[in-house]
Amino acid sequence: MNQRARIGRRAIGGAVLVVVPAVFIAVFFGYPIATVLWRGLGGGGGETFLDLAESSRQRDIVWFTLWQAVASTALTLVVGLPAASIVARLPPRRQRLVRALVTVPFVLPTVLVAGAFTEVFAVTGLDEGALRLRHTVWAILIAHVFFNYAVVVRTVGAFWSGLDHRMEEAARSLGATAWAAFREVTLPRLRPAIASAAAIVFLFSFTSFGVVLILGGPRRATLETEIYRQAVTRTDLETAAALAVVQLVAVLALVVVSTRLERRRPIVGRGARLSRRAASPVWRWVNLGIGFVLLGGPIGVLMERSFSTGDGYGFDHYRALAERAPQLPAPATTALANSIVFAVTATAMAVLVGLLASLVVVHGRRGLARVFDLGLTLPLGTSAVTIGFGMLIALDEPPLDLRTSWWIIPIAHALVGVPFVVRTMVPVLRAIDPALHEAAGVLGASPARARREIDLPIGLRGLVVGAGFAFAVSLGEFGATSFLPRRPENLTAPVALFRLLSTPGDLLRGQAMALAVVLMVLVAAAVLVIESARGSDEGVF
């Protein structure tokens, strides 16, 4: 082949790499968000961003959103850090098992978890009386700890087990007590991991939707639920847009602060792990107990309820899934099938876009790589509600009238999944020794060929992990989906679950629990794939 043809082909390959993810993000994320901003800042007339500040209800909502996120983060750290200390000292194989177990709750659909907690309160009698938890802030906080426990245990635990243990030994030999050695030597080195875990927990709590909507009750509103209420219940799109602007600004500020913090993370050498003393048994059992009750309790109650038929146990509720309940446009089994098809489609899109984007982030020119890195993280930070709302108001005119299209749901889900693919792929690709590319080059591979021969096979494991997350996220996605048109062929399992749960009375409770269990099994399968593909030390989420 002559050289010009070669260069021509390389340029086309490079352009595809950049254009596909750029167009996807710009059209399905950038444009809707820009529309929200335009409307929220008064571009469409009517109430604006500035008018909001005068409403005391809206000020209360912002305040509540903020403080519940702070409280959730603090509580998660208090419960999660001791657990991380134990996980860090487990032998690698058991560490992986624990990490897999705590990850299941992390990816469970929010609606499902909220439903499980409602049931826990009912079973334990905490739904009424002096110790009422139902429809209180505490219900929200506990559910947030349930979700984010994994973030702290994984992020801090993995980092902790990588620290050089000899430094603590040096401190002890210099006369420090165990506590002093922890405070003076361990804690300062853990700080970057704790900070980044805290930032993620805060972000998730700040943008939490399903949990607040169901567990908070009608009177507790955060920015997320209020955007939903204004847009869907009151159809006041201008106020919803104004609220979404507040949400966007807050999240952007958060992302900027947390990336700043992360950049300050020092390079920590992998330490020798010669002596790893196990934690004291009491400490270990207390923490194991807390984790077991917190994570296992709601899941256990969920399962028990799904089989309970009132006068015994059986599969009645599962059989009922095949029949259409009056509250649903289609039977729950149809919703499950829809969800699986959506998840497969969304995963395929997220993997394609995420893979191309990761290659640009790792191998692209610096400026371009930066833009991609940030542009692809934004959908992770942006609340799903804002994304769904943006799509609802932006993609309603030809040539992009997708509101009634089947495709809008997998696209919205893929958008939420892309950051997961990118976040797992980029570290894997970055860890590839540049000498391998050089070796391939000297052996006659063009840069594009070298990427295909080296990055693709090595990155495949990362890709499987990312795909697993994208699949699980799509299965449980509720925030964005709840904005999109309600048609029988668009009904997803989480939306069906939400409708069943919001029906008063016990009649449909059992069926809701059965649907939740099936959904949970699917998600757990995705987690299993993630954990078996993941190496021992990678872990971004």
Partner: protein, 321 residues
């Protein structure tokens, strides 16, 4: 010498402000082996990478058989490269690593397999095709890297300190085997190293680099016996620098013999350390005026003994100006 196959002219490599390689000229004949010797940071690896096309030349040009190749990307240059830490592809087997270059050249599967077997046999790893590279020992990985680099039949093999990470025993063995493999394939080589023993053993010619410049090239014996400057002498491991009446000179380590105290023109020194090396002794001494010297002596003097040394003028290195 016939027209050199590889010519480097006025080559310069820059990293920002740092000029890592400055105005280097270098020739290599077909089948010839050149060892580039220099301390770490002297620019020898940068020069090698520039020849391979992995670093851009800031100035100068490279010719192969008279054709300029400085504008070509690495994959289109007729060179093989052996990396310091092998850079074997961890996700591929030994056989897949070795056949990589052949696959890039579009060689058909059947001749490819044959060639891989041939090369593995050449490096003493016959039958290793299906092994995972992660299970190889350091020496085995080294041989696989060599087979991989040689498989596409490069005109010149570039070796970037490939023996640095091996233990001494293995290194000695590979120093013996490497020239045999290169001769068997008729491949010319440029071998970068900081170890003068390795350079002398592997190079038909030795080039001494320091501070980004190539100071002197020539057959190992010639360069060692007659370094052109003090810098070159130091890189070659000469330590006996003496500021004498006719300027700065260097006493070769084999220049001294222990003689009786009554002889004229001797150097008086106290023995500080004796290192037994089998056939001879590496002896460190301090002269009465405080100068530190190091000689190879056949018979070991006692530690702390005061000895008289006669310096053979034929083994004193003098510099031109």
């Amino acid at each position: 010498m016939a027209d050199p196959m590889l010519q480097v002219r006025e080559a310069e490599v820059r990293f920002g402000e740092l000029r890592a390689v400055r105005a280097v000229d270098l020739d290599l004949a077909a089948g010839e082996r050149l060892a580039l010797l220099g301390p770490s940071g002297c620019g020898k690896s940068s020069l090698l990478r520039a020849i391979a096309g992995l670093e851009p030349l800031a100035a100068g040009s490279i010719f192969v058989d008279g054709e300029p190749i400085g504008h070509l990307p690495p994959e289109r240059r007729p060179f093989g490269l052996m990396f310091q830490d092998h850079a074997l592809f961890p996700h591929r087997t030994v056989g897949q690593n070795v056949e990589f270059g052949l696959r890039m050249d579009g060689v058909d599967p059947a001749p490819r397999t044959a060639r891989v077997g041939e090369l593995l046999e050449l490096v003493g790893l016959a039958g290793f095709e299906r092994r995972a590279v992660t299970t190889l020992s350091g020496g085995e990985a080294q041989r696989v890297a060599l087979a991989r680099a040689l498989a596409p039949g490069p005109q010149v093999l570039l070796l970037d300190e490939p023996l640095g990470s091996l233990d001494r025993h293995l290194r000695d063995r590979l120093i013996g085997e490497l020239p045999e493999v290169l001769d068997a394939t008729g491949t010319a080589a440029i071998h970068v190293t900081h170890d003068h023993d390795e350079a002398f053993a592997l190079g038909d010619r030795v080039g001494v680099m320091e501070g980004g410049r190539l100071h002197q090239t020539g057959p190992p014996g010639e360069v060692w016996a007659a370094p052109r400057s003090l810098t070159v002498a130091r890189v070659l491991g000469h330590t006996n620098v003496v500021d004498g009446p006719d300027g700065v000179v260097v006493w070769r380590p084999d220049a001294a013999t222990v003689v009786n105290a009554d002889e004229a023109d001797t150097v008086e020194a106290v023995v500080e350390r004796v290192h037994f090396r089998g056939v001879d002794h590496d002896v460190r001494l301090r002269t009465t005026d405080g100068r530190s010297l190091r000689f190879v002596l056949a018979a070991a003097p006692a530690l702390g003994e005061r000895v008289h040394l006669r310096i053979d003028p034929a083994r004193v290195i003098r510099f031109g100006d």
